[in-house]
């Protein structure tokens, strides 16, 4: 019995907490994806590259002497501007066509390829490092946790909560949900739906940017950094239900826990196949995902 308790404390607990810190970051990514899909009906294939852009923006800001904390604040603002511009100049062009799904998918996919290569040309293929802004570890019940990972977990949770409150508890959030539910009705009530679309896209891109900055000190920064990460975020969105915020949060935390705990028994290289396996199962038995769409709940 004592042995089992000791195992839970010394082996299981750190794995669960570590999984949660990665989970929060995955949720941030998935949140942006799912909001964009829920409202605009656009599958943003360039989301991973926006995440990478956020990380590189932080690298530049820190290189010119701005402290990490300011970079954390400025990067999402910059990325929101990028997101707004992309929506107004690119997505709006094909948004009203009949083949919206195919065209926006191809458009964002092409944008992803271009952005990745631009990053490669501008910064080179070698990984760059951002120094961890909070060094050291704290000791809880005889276990060590890096302070920075704890910070990522706290900050990430706060952002997720803020997005939740914004969408479900504010007037603007109500407009966003209304536009997602029926855009013609919302438009005829005098809401500038196009602007709502662009701002929501900007919000999603800003979330990817924040995730990029937060994770840069842990994973380091390189042009293809978004590619693997966005696949995980996509799986989370599909399992949680395309467009569902609740689904993205719950599926994100759940799946990273499955990855973390399974890593105690099988090699962690299997955690991605495991994740995609879960996605296949969900698609087979509950293709709409675990929860309903934004504005349809």
């Amino acid at each position: 019995m004592a042995e089992a308790l000791e195992w839970m404390q010394y082996v299981l607990a750190p794995q669960v907490i570590n999984g949660a810190s990665i989970g929060v970051a995955v949720v941030l990514m998935a949140l942006g994806l799912t909001i964009i899909f829920g409202l605009l009906d656009v599958i943003n294939m360039a989301h991973g590259e926006f995440y990478a852009m956020g990380a590189y923006a932080a690298v530049i800001l820190i290189a010119i002497g701005i402290p990490f904390w300011w970079a954390l604040l400025l990067t999402p603002l910059f990325m929101a501007v990028v997101g707004y511009a992309v929506e107004r100049t690119l997505i709006q062009r094909v948004f009203h066509s009949k083949d919206r799904h195919t065209l926006t998918l191809l458009l964002t996919f092409g944008l992803a390829i271009v952005l990745e290569d631009v990053l490669k040309i501008a910064f080179g293929a070698n990984p760059m490092r951002i120094e961890t802004p909070i060094g050291g570890s704290i000791e809880v019940f005889g276990l060590f946790f890096p302070n920075y990972r704890m910070f990522v977990m706290g900050m990430g949770s706060a952002i997720v909560a803020a997005v939740w409150i914004f969408i479900f508890r504010t007037r603007v959030g109500a407009i966003v949900r209304a536009a997602a539910f029926d855009r013609h009705m919302t438009a005829s009530l005098g809401v500038p739906v196009n602007k709502v679309y662009a701002l929501t896209f900007a919000l999603g891109v800003a979330l990817a940017g924040i995730a990029g900055v937060l994770l840069a000190p842990i994973y380091s920064v390189f042009p293809t950094m978004g590619r693997d990460f966005v696949l995980i975020a996509f799986s989370v969105v599909i399992i949680g239900g395309m467009g569902s915020i609740k689904g993205a949060v719950i599926a994100g935390l759940l799946l990273t826990q499955i990855q973390s705990i399974s890593s105690l028994y099988i090699s962690p290289v299997w955690s991605d196949p495991l994740l995609f396996g879960c996605m296949v199962l969900v698609l087979m038995w509950r293709p709409q995902g675990l929860f309903g769409r934004l504005g349809h709940g």
Partner: protein
């Protein structure tokens, strides 16, 4: 009209040159090494070692009177890229000799390219035993110490320092990682160490924290790892952040912690022990001069890669001068059994498997410096010749 005169004089010049070509043309050596990616730091040491030796050789009259020219290609530590670059060097640049590969997979692949093109190649870095054992090639020579030799020195130290070792193994998931872990496991178990478990992480892994659960669960008192380059920086700093290295002896392959990544790891590397074929503190005149020249030229300390790459140039020089030719068959014959002087003392190229023999050391990181804590003689470290291809 003017053009005709011009081309005529060009042809005349070419004809003239062709007559003296064989003697005055430089010997070209192709270097396929990672100049970017996770092993870029290792490639940098390779380049520095080769450049320094080439400068010395050219200043003292070259190899058999011919200057040496190095041609670099970036292989990104990726075997598929290495093959393309090696083909290019052999076919387009017409190099006489190939070296530089770091990733053991690249070395094996480039060995096959050299075999197809009937040229010789050498690695100065790759550890995987198979390169000079079951996957040996008549065209591939290894001047550095392989995994088995490193393990012999390290296992000897471990048996003395930690008699009740319960070892957990963490390697990069490719030829070198599997080979180094297998070699050290065999050597350590032969000396009485127990095995707590093993796990392999992909090359260029960003986050090792998911691996820590299994390591914690296995409760080892020793961890052996053979990750290298920037992977070590991430592994060791993350281990320190999670408090995993408390009350734990960390051991590694000789490429795990080197002077190239030691600064980036910082305090987290203290206490680390490895079996290695080179240390800047080896006491002989060649090494003293080499370390001084290296530091003067590059403002950095040489590590095993720099030293082995430096030694390779003198190996090739000795072989070509003994063969009195750059012809593949003649040079190969000269290389077999060749003895030559390096910063690590006199090395002998074993004829049976093309593996260089040398004394091996156990070294420990102490306050950011490598200190020799044990030594095994070349004959005891080398192990049996298991190459059957030639």
């Amino acid at each position: 009209m003017r053009q005709t005169i011009l081309s005529a004089s060009v042809i005349a010049a070419m004809l003239f040159c062709a007559g003296v070509q064989a003697q005055s043309d430089p010997i070209k050596i192709g270097v396929v090494t990672p100049l970017s990616g996770t092993y870029a730091g290792i490639g940098q040491q390779v380049k520095w070692g080769l450049d320094l030796a080439t400068k010395e050789i050219n200043a003292s009259g070259g190899i058999a009177g011919r200057k040496v020219e190095l041609i670099y290609e970036d292989e990104e530590a990726n075997p598929a890229v290495a093959v393309q670059k090696a083909e290019k060097l052999l076919q387009v640049s017409k190099v006489d000799f190939l070296t530089g590969t770091v990733n053991s997979g690249s070395t094996l692949a480039v060995g096959q390219v050299a075999e197809r093109n009937n040229r010789l190649a050498s690695t100065t870095v790759s550890f995987a035993d198979s390169i000079t054992a079951d996957k040996c090639s008549p065209n591939m020579f290894r001047v550095n110490a392989r995994a088995g030799m490193q393990s012999a020195a390290l296992a000897e130290w471990l048996a003395k320092a930690k008699p009740n070792a319960n070892v957990y193994y963490l390697g990069p998931d490719y030829e070198m990682g599997r080979s180094t872990v297998a070699a050290f496991k065999a050597a350590a178990e032969a000396k009485g160490a127990k095995t707590a478990g093993e796990v392999f992480a992909p090359l260029d892994n960003k986050d090792y924290s998911p691996y820590f659960g299994q390591i914690r669960g296995a409760r080892p008192n020793v961890i052996y790892t053979s990750v290298a380059g920037n992977d070590t920086v991430r592994l060791m700093t993350q281990m320190a952040e999670f408090g995993l290295n408390r009350n734990l002896q960390v051991l590694g392959a000789s490429g795990t912690v080197t002077s190239q990544n030691l600064a980036a790891i910082g305090k987290a590397a203290d206490g680390f022990v490895t079996g290695v074929g080179y240390s800047t503190t080896i006491d002989n005149p060649i090494n003293k001069k080499f370390v001084a020249d290296f530091e003067a030229a590059y403002k950095a300390q040489p590590d095993l890669y720099g030293a082995d790459s430096y030694g390779l140039m003198y190996f090739y020089k000795a072989a070509v001068e003994k063969a009195k030719s750059t012809d593949t068959d003649k040079v190969r014959e000269a290389m077999r059994g060749l003895q030559w002087d390096t910063p690590q003392g006199t090395k002998t190229m074993r004829a049976g498997d093309h593996q260089a023999m040398q004394d091996m050391y156990a070294v420990q990181v102490n306050d950011g410096k490598f200190v020799i804590v044990g030594k095994v003689d070349a004959d005891a470290a080398i192990g049996p010749d298991t190459c059957t291809k030639f």
